[in-house]
């Protein structure tokens, strides 16, 4: 037994000896089972981002007055053998309360299929297909896996499209603020002196201006004829303009500390150019840290987007984002009628949770002093 362990340990050691920093990080990261699982969740979400239409059962904007406020339709996989279906529903308006009331019709079932043909869509702007992950066998039949909203739009499909918007906002905003933060923070930390002072004051200024009015002002100042998509992109940029400061500070701190380290000094003595020192020597030492910090910043951006859209200041319908979907749930009264409209909130929580877990896992894994 001792021998086996020794052999195994030997194999381990050999690998460690040749492992690059990145491989080490990956090994350490792999040990966090929750983080690994969360990374899986995020990958799934980003697959949805790539092609929400494939996952959507129908056009997310398709309205039908007579299919408003349909509750969730539970998916059944077996009906005497593999034959997925959802219960058929019938609804009528209550003459007294004027509420649409839905009941399942036990005599009928709506059969559904996987990889079925439905409404055509373009994949990444490359080709057109009409294959959907899931859909009713009869294409004319609409199914509402997660219920429908007040205009009779399918929440499942809307969440898929909202995922695309919100996850992209998070990613793009954080990428931009990472670039800004690294460049400005790096400049500040590397050169020091007056440049540092100016950038530091700028950061303080940006940090002390409350975000909501900045947001209001900027989003109101956007060109008036922009479409919701353009506004959406602009909002992403704005989010990153506000969000880079924290990272900028961190990068500066790291630069300040690193500047004094021996190897940078050595590189300078060896006559390396400044840019080269930054890119070749300083950057790699905290790249992993930046990645970890960024993955923790994405959920913050997502929550910002959600909150702002919720206030009606961010992304606006007919564009779909998680915040826009949650705006429906803003109305307690709607919630009383249709609690399933809170589901997008759960999606937000899951995504943010996953980002946080992955971020923490990455941070732990990338910290060479962790044990």
């Amino acid at each position: 037994m001792q021998l086996d362990a020794t052999v195994a340990a030997g194999a381990v050691e050999e690998r460690i000896a040749v492992a690059s920093n990145w491989t080490l990080i990956w090994w350490r990261f792999r040990r966090h089972r929750l983080a690994l699982f969360s990374a899986g969740v995020l990958i799934c979400l980003y697959i949805v981002v790539l092609c929400p239409d494939f996952f959507a059962t129908q056009d997310p904007q398709q309205t039908d007055a007579r299919q408003a406020f349909i509750p969730t339709q539970p998916l059944h996989l077996f009906d005497g053998g593999w034959n997925p279906w959802v219960p058929a529903i019938v609804g009528k308006r209550n003459p007294i309360t004027l509420r649409m009331e839905w009941t399942t019709d036990p005599s009928r079932k709506t059969h559904i299929e996987f990889f079925t043909h439905g409404q055509p869509y373009r994949v990444l702007g490359l080709f057109t297909t009409s294959i959907h992950l899931i859909g009713a066998t009869d294409p004319a039949q609409r199914i509402f896996l997660l219920g429908s909203d007040r205009l009779g739009r399918d929440q499942w499909s809307r969440i898929m499209h909202g995922t695309q918007t919100s996850m992209t906002v998070g990613l793009v905003a954080v990428t931009l603020s990472v670039i800004l933060g690294v460049v400005l923070g790096g400049i500040s930390g590397y050169f020091g002196g007056i440049i540092d002072q100016v950038i530091q004051r700028l950061i303080e200024l940006l940090q002390s201006v409350p975000t909501i009015p900045v947001w209001l002002a900027l989003s109101a100042a956007l060109p008036r004829d922009w479409t919701p998509t353009q506004v959406f992109l602009a909002i992403t940029v704005i989010l990153s303009l506000v969000g880079w400061t924290t990272l900028g500070r961190e990068v500066r701190g790291r630069f300040l500390a690193l500047r004094e380290e021996d190897f940078v000094l050595a590189a300078r003595l060896a006559g390396c150019g400044r840019m080269r020192i930054i890119l070749r020597h300083m950057m790699p030492t905290f790249l992993s840290h930046i990645i970890a910090t960024s993955s923790l910043a994405i959920p913050v951006a997502i929550i910002s987007e959600t909150s702002l859209s919720f206030l009606g200041l961010g992304i606006r319908p007919p564009a779909i984002s998680w915040g826009v979907l949650l705006q429906e749930a803003q109305n307690i009264q709607t919630l009383a009628l249709a609690p399933w409209l809170l589901i997008p909130g759960l999606v937000v929580i899951v995504a943010v949770l996953a980002f946080n877990l992955v971020g923490d896992g990455l941070r732990d894994a990338s910290d060479p002093y962790s044990h």
């Binding site: 904007q61 004027l98 205009l151």
Partner: protein, 640 residues
């Protein structure tokens, strides 16, 4: 409106006679709290507080009981009209059905045969809420020192103008009789007077001279005024005066209403208590109001307000209640100990799509928007039934924005429902006929300049489920090959774009349909883009600059201005004829596409405490009627 005027005068006379008899025959009664103050010597007895001929207010169900606090909600200082509507502190007021005008603070009014001279009779012995006598001097103070003061009133309101633009003449005949003289027939005089109760933070046409003189440079030393203004952070005496003259901003300012403010509209709770000198009694001689106190609680958020309403936190509230909450309200009736009733609006349409016929930013689009057939096609393309079902809970009817069937101005069913049937083929045919035949790969029709026809609907999320309507309409228009972008905008942004002629189309409601000739009617292109939607900001400029700027309006629009002018100086029958013609033009030329009308969308869902009585089950519901003020709120009461 001659019939209205005559009715008003006659009813005033009848009321007066009746009231006189009531006063002579029976002793008056008062609220227990007031009786105690009388006993303590703090108040004169009720007989001395009431005018010789009190206003006798008919009750809806039964004679009420004194006491209670009427809990309501408001959304802050900009919601001061909430107060205005509840107290309806006017010389005259609209009757509950909105068809007539009845005297309130005034005793009656009489017009000369040519409607150029109006005489208003005040109630002898009527008093302000601080006990001072209310006389013609209070109207003259307004006339000489407010209306004719250039600092306070840089431009004259249209109803006070003679045909040459100068102000009408106001003369005191005696302490209780005042005479208004115009150089034109002023047939709509009473309708205007019934709205001179200080709405929109303007000044009422009768002001407590004894209180306000100390804030006016005609009576007070200038340096003293400056000192007072500065102490209150005001820049000028006019700001000070305006603040002091607004009851909602100054609790010390006496009013004539049934309840008087004791806190300010800028407070968390805007509280009003009964006016011990209120001029009204019920037919048994009980001085009104029945309810002791009115309490408006501030809500920062309309959603929170609605939630509180569902929980039964208000005793009678229709303002800011969203129609979409009707089902929840109805389901919670028992738990919340309230009942929910519906007052459908007077307005012809609760979501109209208004077109800017003078849009210039994109000439190709502008040309389409100004084309009547194009608008007709888009009207046919809308599936109104779907809008009705999903936005209006299945209430209301598909119609153009014209007066309601029960109203004398109703132009006829043919016009009310013109172009409202859902017919995509017809829409496509018309669009094809307009030359919009070629389409891009997405199926969007190409305009003559080769660009896809793209229309933007600008919509403000504040006042109704209009964004939903916009999205439904956008989908329908897309289906006939017109790409439609919905832009949900902040109110201020939307308005400044409207004023600067940047909007293509917008969604609003037609809430003053029954009043095309008074106030800031939306049908009159001369009222400008502040009131009037996007019908054509450049037409407005042309009309107001005497043809120097802007774009000359087409014949039908010019005809509308003639009709409005005619109605202002003609009698009731002439007004009805003018209005009907106006609505026919409106529906024929589809300057606005009506969708669904006659729903309770605008403050028409009423939540009433189960214990509250005398609230009418049907009511003319519109802003000029000051609903619920026209329901005679002073006779509402709580059953013990």
């Amino acid at each position: 409106m001659s019939r209205l005027a005559q009715v008003a005068a006659l009813s005033a006379f009848l009321f007066a006679v009746f009231a006189f008899q009531a006063g002579a025959q029976s002793k008056f009664h008062e609220a227990p709290a007031l009786a105690e103050q009388v006993k303590a010597g703090k108040l004169p007895p009720v007989e001395q507080r009431l005018p010789e001929q009190p206003l006798v207010v008919p009750v809806v169900e039964k004679i009420g009981e004194y006491g209670g606090i009427w809990r309501r909600a408001f959304l802050g200082p900009a919601d001061a009209n909430n107060y205005v509507r509840v107290v309806y502190d006017g010389l005259f007021r609209f009757t509950p059905d909105g068809a007539d005008i009845e005297p309130k603070i005034a005793l009656g009014a009489k017009a000369s045969a040519d409607y150029k001279i109006w005489t208003i009779q005040l109630r002898k012995g009527a008093r302000w809420s601080d006990g001072e006598a209310f006389t013609v001097d209070d109207i003259l103070f307004w006339y000489s020192n407010v209306l004719l003061n250039k600092d306070l009133m840089p431009t004259l309101p249209s109803w006070t103008r003679n045909s040459d633009g100068s102000a009408m003449k106001v003369e005191k005949l005696d302490d209780y009789t005042v005479q208004f003289t115009y150089d034109r027939p002023a047939t709509l005089f009473l309708s205007e007077i019934a709205n001179q109760d200080g709405p929109d933070q303007t000044l009422a046409m009768f002001l407590p001279a004894h209180y306000l003189k100390r804030f006016h440079p005609a009576f007070a030393p200038k340096d003293e005024l400056d000192r007072m203004a500065q102490a209150a952070s005001f820049k000028s005496w006019t700001e000070l005066f305006n603040a002091k003259a607004a009851p909602a901003q100054d609790p010390d300012r006496p009013t004539m209403a049934a309840w008087i403010p004791i806190t300010r509209v800028s407070d968390q709770v805007f509280t009003l208590k009964r006016n011990p000198f209120y001029i009204g009694v019920d037919k048994e001689g009980n001085q009104l109001p029945y309810i002791d106190e009115l309490r408006f609680t501030y809500f920062a958020d309309q959603q929170a307000l609605n939630l509180a309403a569902i929980a039964g936190d208000f005793d009678m509230q229709e303002r800011h209640i969203q129609m979409t909450n009707y089902p929840v309200l109805k389901e919670q009736e028992k738990n919340g100990k309230y009942r929910v009733i519906i007052w459908p609006t007077f307005g012809g349409s609760d979501a109209v799509i208004a077109f800017n016929s003078t849009y210039t930013a994109d000439p190709a689009i502008g040309k389409l928007l100004a084309t009547k057939e194009f608008r007709i096609a888009l009207s046919y393309a809308i599936n109104r039934d779907e809008i009705k079902e999903s936005v209006f809970l299945g209430l209301g009817e598909a119609r153009q924005p014209v007066a309601a069937p029960w109203h004398p101005y109703f132009p006829g069913k043919e016009w009310a429902t013109k172009y409202t049937e859902f017919d995509r083929n017809k829409a496509n045919q018309i669009l094809d006929a307009l030359g919009l035949i070629k389409r891009d790969p997405q199926g969007i029709r190409l305009m003559e300049n080769g660009k896809p026809a793209t229309i933007e609907i600008s919509v403000v999320p504040a006042f109704g489920a209009w964004p939903d309507v916009a999205q439904l309409v956008a989908k329908d228009w897309g289906a006939v090959g017109i790409r439609t972008i919905v832009q949900i905008r902040e109110r201020a942004l939307h308005f400044s774009m409207r004023t600067s002629n940047q909007l293509m189309t917008e969604i609003w409601n037609e809430d003053t349909t029954a009043f095309p000739f008074t106030g800031g009617s939306k049908f009159d292109p001369r009222n400008g883009p502040l009131q009037q939607l996007t019908v054509g900001p450049l037409y407005y400029r042309w009309l107001t600059s005497g043809g120097k700027e802007g774009v000359e309006p087409p014949e039908p629009q010019k005809r509308i201005t003639q009709l409005v002018d005619a109605a202002r100086s003609t009698g009731r029958d002439g007004q009805i004829k003018a209005a009907q013609e106006l609505y026919r033009i409106w529906a024929d030329d589809v300057y606005e596409i009506g969708t669904i009308g006659l729903t309770p969308m605008v403050q028409g869902v009423v939540v009433i405490n189960s214990k509250m009585h005398n609230v009418p089950t049907t009511l003319g519901n519109d802003w000029p009627l000051r609903s619920p003020g026209n329901a005679r709120t002073e006779q509402f009461f709580f059953a013990k």
